[in-house]
Each structure stands twice: as structure tokens, then as C-alpha cells.
Amino acid sequence: VSEPRYDTPFVVRPEPDLADLVPTYLQRRHTDAETISAALEQGDLEVVRIVGHSMKGSGGGYGFDGLTDIGQELENAGRESDAEGATAALRHLRDYLANVEVVYE
């Protein structure tokens, strides 16, 4: 299984009728990253699982399939109390948010 990598710029094209919602949606994922970071510092993997589960269930709906994948990674790591896996997934999330370019057509 190849590790998902989002460390170079890439384009995502959400449905135009979601344009009003996408900026807030992505802003909330930045907040998720902070929440996960704080949870990891405290060793609270349950928070990682819950945030991941929610991200998995929403990302692809907005057009961000990669966020669904990262959410799955976070959820799995959280469920298995895998702090190393959760840290890697958090890095993927931050890379994703730093490099995603949203384009409407």
C-alpha cells in the first residue's frame, strides 16, 4: 500500500453549487488539525478517532476524496491507539490543506 502523499500542490474541483460552503469546510479541517495535534500531545487517541471518522464521512461529499482517505487513516490510528500512525496522518492532513488548490468549473 503506497502512503498517500499531498506534499506537492494539487487541484481539486468541487461541485460549483458547493462553492459557498467549501471555504468554511476547509477552515474547519485546519481546526481539526489543531484539535488532533492537541489530542496527540495529551495521548488522547479517542479524539483522533472521532475527528477522523467525521472527516471520512464528509470529505468526499464536498469533493475532497483525499480528506476522506486521511479521515480513515486518523480513525484507524485512533481506534488502534497508534500514536505514530496518527502523527503520520496528521502530517498528511496538514500537507493536504497546505497544497490543495480549489478550482470551480
Binding site: L21, S58, G61
Partner: protein, 169 residues
């Protein structure tokens, strides 16, 4: 005497058609009583704790004829369902993992109320971002009629609503 709206009439007819069957054999997956090809605006109860997903489904239905009532957890959903009364909703979209009362308990409670009050069986569609493989079976066992896997795409949602008589356009 209040005027009869078409959708109320349709609901009443549907209730008369599928209510008896649902009561006699609650374990059998009910058939949808709306005539084939019939479409009408649906009254939808969306039960979802995540605002991101509520906003998304709201956006999916923005240009549809359907009306959406939203509940943030299972307990609020049961209250909304109770308040709406018989045939108050044409379909329920039910998230399964929620705080306060989850979708399994809420679905069981709705089925219990329907059974106790002799109400027609309202279709309940489980919305779930599966964490565990047995979740689908658990949702059906709790009384859901089918499930959609999150993340949910617009076309998938509209196709599901069309199965319950909603216009897919």
C-alpha cells in the same frame, strides 16, 4: 375543515397501502407504496450531528422541491418525529453515530412509536461512514430500510429519495 393538499392525500393513500403490511410483518423489508413513476415533494427528516454534513445535504436539496427538517441527535429526531405525527415525514435520513442518542436507538424508538400508535412505517435510510463491517447489518436490524455510505454524493442521495417517490431531478 382544512383543505386537502395533494401530498397529504398521497401520504394517506401510501399509509393505507403499506401500514397494514408493515404492522403484520415488521421484520419484512417493506415495499415502497408510492406508485411506480410517481414523484412528489418529500418531507424529509435529516438526523445528523455534524454540521458539515447537514450543510452538504441542505445544499444538495437546495433546488429540489423537498422540504428538510433537521435534528442534531437521535433524541431530537424522535421528538421531531413524534411532533410531526402520522405521515409527518415521507423519509428519514438517519446518521448512526451521534451523541446523546445514536441512530440505532432513535430508529428503534421510531419503530416502537409507529407500532404502538398504528402509524404507517416511514422509510428510514441510514447514513453511515462505516467504521466496522457489522454496522450495515446493525442498521437494518434496528429498523432502517437501507443504508447509504458516507461520504454521500449528490446523485446517490437523489437516487435514494427517488426510490421513496421523490423527484430525482
Amino acid at each position: 375543515m382544512k383543505p386537502i393538499r395533494r401530498r397529504d392525500l398521497v401520504s394517506a393513500v401510501r399509509a393505507a397501502i403499506d401500514g397494514g403490511a408493515a404492522r403484520q410483518a415488521p421484520s419484512v423489508k417493506p415495499t415502497v407504496a408510492a406508485p411506480v413513476g410517481a414523484t412528489h415533494p418529500l418531507r424529509i427528516l435529516l438526523v445528523e450531528d455534524t454540521e458539515d454534513n447537514r450543510l452538504l445535504i441542505q445544499a444538495y436539496l437546495k433546488n429540489s422541491p423537498h422540504t428538510l427538517v433537521m435534528a442534531e441527535d437521535g433524541k431530537l429526531a424522535v421528538e421531531a418525529f413524534h411532533k410531526a405525527g402520522p405521515s409527518g415525514f415521507d423519509v428519514v435520513l438517519m446518521d448512526m453515530q451521534m451523541p446523546v442518542m445514536d441512530g440505532y436507538d432513535a430508529t428503534r424508538e421510531i419503530r416502537r412509536m409507529e407500532s404502538a400508535d398504528g402509524m404507517p412505517r416511514t422509510p428510514i435510510v441510514a447514513l453511515t461512514a462505516f467504521a466496522l463491517p457489522q454496522e450495515a447489518k446493525s442498521a437494518i436490524d434496528a429498523g432502517c430500510d437501507e443504508y447509504l455510505t458516507k461520504p454521500i454524493k449528490k446523485a446517490t442521495l437523489l437516487e435514494a429519495l427517488a426510490r421513496y417517490g421523490g423527484d430525482a431531478a
